[in-house]
Amino acid sequence: MIGPSFEAVLDAAAGGDEAAFGSLWRDVQPGLLRYLDALAPGAAEDLASETWLRIVQSLDRFRGDERAFRGWVFTVARHRAVDRWRRRVRRRDELVPADALAGLPAPDDPAGAAVDAISSRAAVALIATLPPDQAEVVLLRVLAGLKVAQVAAITGKRPGNVRVLTHRALRRLAERLATDDRVRGAV
């Protein structure tokens, strides 16, 4: 998060300041990529580019604080991902999700054993194995840093529903980590 200086940075970016836009981009892009990677594996880069194009075109009309800005970016990204998913379904040329756990190293994997902390990619892949609505709620909260109400607005759910989904997701994650050797080994 950029913090208190966000408003000044946004103003500068909206006025065409490239450096200011760069700092906005650097702040949001990692979480955006991870989120899109969970939503549309293999297309995150493309979707992120489409998202930023849209953001750039309307940047000078945006009003709001940093959280609102992140909410806007992730909303645009989500729409792009949904559009892509619809196109794919129409064409039926791709069977959806690959094994999301494929990114996790096996317990006996020497490379995996060498890593003492789970990578962000593997962590997102693990979250993505949750039921889709639970995964999305957790990803939006964790990666975008959004509040319950914002996540509710983006996903079209009620705030109470978002809270319930978050609780279920956390518990399910905890259970998986407790029981699944493969996952435990990765963590």
């Binding site: 103003d11 970016a13 909206a14 006025g15 065409g16 300041d17 490239e18 836009f21 760069g22 981009w25 650097r26 892009q29 990692p30 979480g31 990529l33 991870r34 880069e45 992120a48 580019s49 930023w52 194009l53 750039v56 075109q57 940047l59 000078d60 009309r61 945006f62 009003r63 902390a117 789970i118 990578s119 962000s120 593997a122 962590a123 997102v124 693990l126 979250i127 957790v138 990803l139 909260r141 964790v142 990666l143 840093g145 809270r163 978050t166 609780h167 956390l170 518990r171 994650l173 905890a174 259970e175 980590l177 407790a178 029981t179 435990r184 963590v187």
Partner: protein, 250 residues
């Protein structure tokens, strides 16, 4: 395999859980990444680690696209020193200069209706004298009456009046309606009506088209609008139809 031929992992949770449920506050802190694995409640250390890892700082490869993003910003972003536009729907930038959508749409509907009336009027005007004075009257109105050049061509090709006249007249009306709806959003329609006080070059063709009142249209239009007979009303309607086109091309 559990009862009912279901794998245990797929069975609904029977009420027992391997981990304790979280309270609201702890769940919030976990999701916000404020709970380290060491401080996590029993059973949630792994979850805390996963969530923290998911929100970890950017890896270099995740920022590799910065140059492309900046290029996009240069190409499509606001110009340096540009003012911020007011927030709003769709294309506020365009609408800020134009009239409100409701009025613009109403105007376009009125134009379309006037066009239909004009077509009907010309149809009847041409239809009445069909036995006798056809060639002279029938050829003229299409070229000027609707305000578009296209109808003139078929009018010239076919000497007999009814068919050649009616056919060319109808499409311009519908086409005007279609054109008018599509560009209704950009403000080009409004400037065109602002400019369109009747000073454009469509005047002469009107004079050629209408034989009964050659000199009047420019002056008498605003005053005698309600009093004039039917063939007059389409004239003011026909003019704005032309004008959006130059407006759009700009």
């Amino acid at each position: 395999m559990g009862p009912g031929g279901v794998f245990p992992a797929e069975m609904p949770e029977p009420g027992r859980s391997l981990v304790d449920p979280l309270d609201e506050n702890t769940a919030e802190r976990l999701v916000a990444g404020r709970v380290s694995p060491d401080d996590a409640p029993p059973g949630y250390a792994g979850v805390a680690g996963v969530l923290q890892a998911a929100a970890a700082p950017a890896a270099p490869e995740e920022l590799a696209g910065q140059a492309a993003a900046l290029a996009t910003f240069r190409a499509y972003g606001p110009r340096p020193g540009a003012r911020r536009r007011p927030p709003g729907r769709g294309r506020p930038h365009d609408w800020a200069r134009g009239r409100p959508p409701g009025r613009a749409r109403g105007r376009l509907v009125a134009l379309a209706l006037a066009g239909v009336v004009a077509a009907g009027g010309l149809w009847t005007a041409a239809g009445a004298p069909s036995p006798a004075g056809l060639p002279s009257r029938a050829g003229a109105p299409p070229s000027g009456g609707s305000g578009s050049g296209a109808p003139g061509t078929p009018g010239a090709s076919g000497a007999p009046g009814l068919v050649t006249q009616a056919r060319p007249m109808t499409p311009p009306v519908t086409a005007a309606g279609a054109n008018a709806r599509a560009p209704a959003r950009p403000s080009a329609t409004d400037p065109s009506t602002r400019n369109g006080g009747g000073a454009t070059a469509s005047g002469p063709s009107h004079h050629g088209a209408k034989q009964h009142r050659p000199g009047k249209p420019p002056k008498a239009r605003p005053k005698s609008k309600p009093e004039k007979p039917k063939p007059e009303t389409p004239r003011p309607a026909a003019e704005p139809k032309d004008k959006p086109t130059p407006g759009h091309q700009r």
